[in-house]
């Protein structure tokens, strides 16, 4: 349905699609959090709460956080950077890992290594991210002798600094099968390109198909990674809590753990930040599909 919107004003339509989806989700979220039991708010009715939260959302003046005391924008910035660090580095790591690997397995498919790789990744990807994170911590305690938590980063040695930064990334990437699913999509994409009749035509005239392969891989990489962002963020929230990494996930849990005087303004702010990130990646995804397949502008089919 989406990539039918092609043509000059297409990207405006895509933008509209994302903005509307963002607003709709946020409004729904504001409505849903009025259901959270809170001993302090018994006097206010749900509609009052809902309008209160909507005002906070639309005017964006979150004020001070009742949970941590500092201004919400500062908390958002500080925690946001930490979470963004995890998101962006894990994406970089995924790209570095899956692109060469899928190129290898797609080219020599029946090689024992590629069969082994597919099997190993299939099994590892079904281990939940929580278990992977805890195993990594157990190993780092017993082998490296350090407990990889964020505060160690500030006063630890260089080696400890590196460990604190990289170990959570391993958990994010291996856990919950993100690596395997992106590896699988890339592999299929390469095989699909190589079997296209026009690729045979290029080979038959002695041309090289690598630039088409690279183009296909970049498109498929961008589309599959941006499509998996909300899945990735779920994993990152778990990793933040297991590695005591004070990012947005950490704050979310603190708020949901409270049973009274919840910091609703901070909750809305954090949720808005996360959804904004998800929607931008969704927009990038639709935009890449449109940009990479210009012929779709004039195609009758979807």
């Amino acid at each position: 349905m989406i990539n039918q919107l092609t043509g000059r004003s297409a990207w405006i339509k895509h933008l509209g699609y994302s903005v509307f989806q963002f607003l709709a989700t946020m409004v729904l979220f504001c409505y849903l959090i009025t259901f959270l039991p809170d001993s302090q708010l018994l006097d206010k009715s749900q509609t009052e709460l809902f309008t209160e939260y909507l005002v906070i959302l639309l005017t964006l003046d979150f004020g001070y956080s009742t949970l941590y005391g500092d201004p919400i924008w500062e908390i958002l910035l500080d925690a946001g950077i930490k979470t963004l660090f995890l998101i962006l580095t894990s994406i970089a790591f995924i790209i570095l890992f899956t692109v060469p690997l899928s190129m290898f397995t797609a080219y020599n498919n029946d090689h024992i290594l590629s069969r082994f790789l597919n099997k190993a990744l299939f099994i590892i990807s079904s281990v939940p991210i929580l278990v992977v994170a805890i195993i990594i911590i157990a190993l780092s305690v017993s082998l490296l002798g350090i407990v990889p938590e964020l505060n160690l980063f500030y006063d630890g040695s260089n080696f400890q600094k590196v460990a604190v930064l990289t170990l959570p990334l391993f958990a994010i990437i291996i856990g919950d099968g993100i690596l395997f699913s992106i590896f699988e999509t890339l592999q299929d994409k390469i095989k699909k390109i190589k079997s296209e009749p026009w690729v045979k035509g290029i080979k038959a005239r002695g041309g090289n198909i690598n630039k088409h392969l690279v183009r296909g891989i970049t498109e498929s990489m961008i589309v599959s990674v941006t499509g998996k962002i909300s899945f990735l963020i779920s994993g990152i929230i778990v990793v933040e809590l297991v590695f005591n990494w004070q990012g947005l996930g950490f704050i979310l849990l603190d708020i949901f753990d409270q049973s009274s005087q919840r910091d609703y303004a901070l909750l809305i702010a954090v949720m808005a930040f996360i959804l904004l990130f998800v929607q931008t990646s969704g927009f990038i995804r639709r935009f890449t599909i449109m940009k990479m397949n210009p012929e779709k502008k004039y195609s009758s089919a979807v």
Binding site: G201, A204, G206, E295, S299
Partner: protein, 343 residues
């Protein structure tokens, strides 16, 4: 008259679930200079492998087993000359040089063989870069436009600027042929260009190809599974069946004698269908559609299982069909057919 391409006793095979299946058996073929040669063969007859062997694109093990291929007057493949490693290397290098420059090929479905996300103009430039030609962009586009005009295309400008899915069937065919002829090859191979077209469109596509080839002195190798394509548009026809060349004849001065080719002719001019219409259960038709011998046994003559002629012969003659392999070399003149009894 010098020959463009000559294939001598080519054998090609593939590994498929365990055993090696030979796909081409002693295939020989000559494409003389500036002539139009046709290969007729149904699915699984090995016609595509013959084309791929000329281009050196046979992949998989063991691929080319033995045989010689000569281009103009030097061998690009000669398995008897030196060790396997050596002739494979020479074969690879030589075909690499020929591909695109000297020999270019058009495949079955024009629209699917064009790069979907590039305009025809961009594809022309990319083709030219691949052939590391030295012309400038403008010259290439000019060259492309003139080729399109030669194929009486009404609005070449629009075609050049549009994407493949914006073109009609005819336009995408002409664009595809233009790309193939952009490198001014000396041999054009057309691998079943008409298989998804109805009779009328097929004829005018082949006319375009024929006209261009004769204007530009390009020899043509036309491969099709429909006899009508090759009968009307080529000078010499090779009939391929199950990897063997069963007959070689020129359509103008001689009617084919091999039972398989006669069967194909009877299907084209409808004579067999009339017979079937008259009496569906008749078994004296050109091909009695029942099987000779049993299904999975290998006989010397590849066509024995379906051959209606052998059914009318005495058992002694049938023995010959079963055990001795008929070959083309039995005849001197140009029209040969691999059958003991069809003379």
């Amino acid at each position: 008259m010098s020959t463009k391409i000559e294939i001598k006793d080519l054998n090609v095979g593939f590994h498929s679930d365990g055993q090696t299946k030979q796909v081409l058996h002693q295939v020989s073929l000559i494409v003389p200079e500036n002539k139009k040669i046709g290969i007729i063969g149904e699915s699984g007859s090995g016609k595509t492998q013959t084309v791929l062997s000329i281009l050196g694109l046979i992949s998989g093990e063991p691929g080319v087993i033995s045989g010689k291929i000569k281009y103009r007057d030097n061998f690009i493949l000669d398995t008897s000359a030196n060790s396997k490693k050596q002739w494979k290397r020479i074969y690879g290098e030589k075909t690499q040089l020929l591909r695109g420059h000297e020999i270019s090929i058009i495949f079955q479905d024009a629209k699917a063989s064009l790069i979907p996300y590039r305009t025809i103009e961009e594809q022309a430039i990319e083709t030219w870069k691949d052939l590391n030609g030295n012309q400038s962009r403008l010259e290439i586009i000019e060259n492309a436009r003139s080729l399109l005009e030669e194929m009486n295309l009404s609005d070449p400008e629009r075609v050049l600027r549009s994407y493949p899915n914006q073109l009609s069937g005819g336009e995408s065919q002409r664009a595809y042929i233009m790309l193939a002829l952009l490198g001014s090859p000396s041999l054009l191979i057309a691998d079943e260009p008409t298989s998804s077209l109805d009779r009328e469109n097929a004829d005018n596509l082949l006319n375009i190809i024929k006209k261009l080839c004769s204007d530009k002195k390009i020899s043509l190798l036309l491969i099709s599974h429909d006899l009508r394509d090759v009968i009307e548009h080529t000078d010499q026809i090779y009939v391929l069946f199950d990897g063997h060349v069963l007959e070689q004849f020129s359509p103008k001065n001689r009617t084919p004698t091999h039972p398989y080719t006669k069967f194909l002719m009877s299907m084209v001019d409808g004579e067999l269908i009339k017979e079937l219409k008259a009496d569906p259960d008749s078994d004296n038709s050109v091909t009695n559609l029942v099987q000779n011998g049993n299904m999975n046994e290998k006989y010397a003559c590849p066509y024995y299982k379906f051959c209606s002629l052998s059914r009318t012969l005495s058992t002694k003659e049938q023995q010959k069909c079963k055990n001795e392999k008929p070959s083309l070399e039995m005849f001197s003149d140009n029209n040969k057919s691999a059958c003991w009894h069809d003379k």
